[in-house]
């Protein structure tokens, strides 16, 4: 026990030292204070953002956007992944396009999307949809391909229709893989949301707040936004993994 407290104190040493250096740097003239905002000003910035509800407004916009994109991209991904796993023709047709487009780093696609759909909400949503789409497709098709052959044979014996085969047989059997895909999609989708908002900076959104604060030289707002983004990423990850655990409880992963 004592050892634990001691170790915890050791872990705190570095952040405290960093804080001290930060505070010291902020007192080295006005030029430094521009970047190294004094700690009390940071606290004031947080209070102001929280009180005015501005932070909440931006966060809510980003969260809704991410969830929407996740829903669309995830459903599309499951559909396309199923198609690719079930039909060799579809796999041969979609596969090459999918795998080559997937090589482009997501943020590299942003200028193209900007030209095609403008830089409004549609473009930001599309970035998230694409981000959610990739991992869902990959994991769904992989999971469905691994469904045991004997299950399929049983399905044939019971003369299930395609819809029944999908709902009763493939979907439950591939569920762990799909859930893994959606969990990845969520993590990637949140980052894509922030990235998209950084690059299409108009309108509400935590990424837009971040980039506007950077251009306005508001280090406090930048720091708070970064922390909020990281915190939300962790929270969402935790929640999704919890939900995933509940969903595939008692199932062996394939």
């Amino acid at each position: 026990m004592k050892q634990n407290i001691f170790n915890g104190a050791k872990g705190l040493l570095l952040p405290l030292a960093a804080l001290a250096v930060w505070e010291w740097a902020s007192r080295q003239g006005s030029g430094a204070a521009y970047v190294f905002v004094p700690v009390e000003q940071l606290a004031q910035g947080v209070a102001e953002l929280l009180r005015s509800g501005e932070l909440w407004l931006h966060l809510r916009a980003s969260l809704t956007r991410t969830l929407q994109g996740l829903l669309i991209g995830g459903l599309l991904g499951i559909a396309v992944g199923t198609l690719m796993a079930q039909s060799r023709v579809a796999d041969r047709l979609i596969g090459p396009l999918f795998h080559s487009i997937r090589q482009v780093p997501l943020l590299g696609l942003v200028p193209l999307l900007g030209l095609w759909v403008g830089s409004g909400d549609a473009a930001k949503l599309l970035v998230i949809v694409i981000a959610a789409f990739y991992p869902t497709v990959l994991n769904t098709s992989e999971g469905m391909r691994r469904v045991d052959q004997s299950y399929r044979e049983v399905g044939l014996m019971l003369t299930l229709t395609r819809g029944q085969t999908f709902r009763r047989l493939l979907l439950p059997a591939a569920l762990p893989a799909i859930v893994t895909g959606v969990t990845h999609a969520q993590a990637f989708g949140w980052l894509a949301c922030v990235g998209g908002e950084l690059l299409f900076a108009a309108g509400p959104g935590i990424g837009s707040l971040l980039v506007n604060a950077e251009q306005g030289g508001r280090m406090d707002v930048v720091l708070i936004s970064v922390l909020a983004i990281a915190l939300l990423a962790q929270t969402m990850n935790f929640l999704f993994q919890r939900a995933a655990g509940l969903l595939v409880r008692g199932r062996s992963t394939l």
Partner: protein, 381 residues
């Protein structure tokens, strides 16, 4: 109806394998047949009729089977070609053994299931699937569609430029040396930041894995900083370092360092304690343990971490260049976007994708190359 019902009967024949007492059986070629002459064209019609009209059939389907009837029509089986002739005699034989089903052959390819003219279409599809270049079908189709769309003027030029125009622009960019310049600076930034980040990450990960003391001091800070997404840090780094070169290098260093350090740390922590014990028994010094036990042991995980870090930092660098830069592939695309030069943007997209792919492929190759001994080892045992 006629073909469909034949299709539908197919999966039902194995049904009796659930109940050994049942009289049905699948056609088994090696069965000792009674020497009666088999009227080959005949046996199928009675079978077909037995489905809709259960009464006169030798084996009336159970009510449960009947309930599936409507659904059977859509069952995706390319049957007639695969249906072996069903001699009626074989149906009467008792065959209690689990039957070698002919099903698995066509289970995997339901989508090739033909509707009307099965054999011809199925043959064509199968031949297309077996064709070496069939993977190029959809990209070429897309290219054709793209060319058609631009030459017929289906979309305004801001939204779609012709493939020829893109090629032409590529050539122009190469000629003027503009492309090379952007490419060079981007790759240099990536290489510099990545080298620093990877070396520092490997070093720090090793220390973190080997020294409990250092871990106690730095692990909490490391774990918190690790959670900060690199993309979100771009504006912060711009404020801290300005929009010069250093900010882009640092963002790549950040993206690389944490992934690599974590991978190395996990690899060291995952090393079997026994290796180290054996080394101690041999009287290895601490340095020898690190060099001859730990370092070789963490190579696979480190390489995987490095590969992931490389593709991640490439994405972050492109993002950073899009946001704030005076040169580089990302800046080229962003400028082109602001000037509505779709062709240049497309060149940039293809290039970033190509570079990302090449880097990933290269490291995969390196991984396989360095891991040869392991594969050989596995083959020997």
């Amino acid at each position: 109806m006629s073909t469909n019902s034949v299709i539908a009967t197919q999966p039902r024949s194995p049904q009796p394998s659930h109940s050994p007492s049942s009289q049905q059986s699948l056609p088994l070629p090696p069965q000792p047949m009674p020497p009666q002459p088999l009227p080959l064209p005949q046996p199928q019609p009675p079978q077909q009729q037995s489905l809709p009209l259960p009464a006169p059939a030798p084996l009336p389907p159970s009510p449960q089977q009947q309930s599936h009837l409507p659904s059977q029509q859509s069952l995706p089986l390319p049957a007639p070609a695969l249906l072996p002739p069903l001699p009626q005699q074989s149906l009467q034989q008792v065959h209690p053994l689990p039957l070698p089903l002919p099903l698995p052959q066509h289970v995997g390819q339901p989508a090739t299931a033909p509707g009307r003219a099965p054999s011809a279409r199925a043959g064509l599809v199968a031949r297309w699937l077996a064709w070496r270049w069939s993977g190029w079908t959809s990209p070429l189709l897309l290219l054709a569609l793209w060319s058609a769309a631009t030459s017929l003027g289906w979309a305004p030029e801001q939204i779609l430029v012709s493939p020829l125009q893109v090629l032409h622009t590529t050539w122009e960019l190469i000629e003027s040396g503009e492309l090379r310049q952007h490419l060079e600076i981007s790759v240099l930034r990536l290489a510099g930041g990545f080298a620093i980040g990877a070396v520092a990450g490997i070093g720090f990960g090793l220390l973190l894995g080997l020294s409990p003391g250092l871990r106690a001091y730095t692990a909490p800070t490391f774990n918190v900083l690790r959670q900060l997404p690199s993309v979100a840090l771009i504006p912060l780094f711009i404020l801290l370092f300005g929009i010069g070169e250093s900010f882009k290098i640092f963002i790549v260093v950040k993206a690389t360092f944490f992934i690599v350090a974590l991978a190395v740390h996990d690899a060291v922590a995952g090393l079997s304690e026994r290796y180290i014990e054996v080394a101690r028994v041999y009287g290895f010094t601490r340095w020898q343990i690190v060099r001859r036990v730990v370092l070789p042991g963490i190579v696979p995980a480190t390489l995987t971490g490095v590969r992931i870090a490389l593709s991640r930092s490439w994405m972050v660098l492109v993002g950073a260049e899009l946001l704030a830069a005076d040169s580089g592939l990302g800046q080229m695309m962003e400028m082109a976007r602001q000037m509505f030069r779709l062709d240049i943007v497309m060149v940039g997209v293809v290039l970033t994708g190509g570079i990302g792919y090449a880097l990933d492929r290269g490291l995969r190759w390196l991984e396989a190359h360095l891991m040869r001994w392991q594969r050989g080892d596995r083959e020997n045992t």
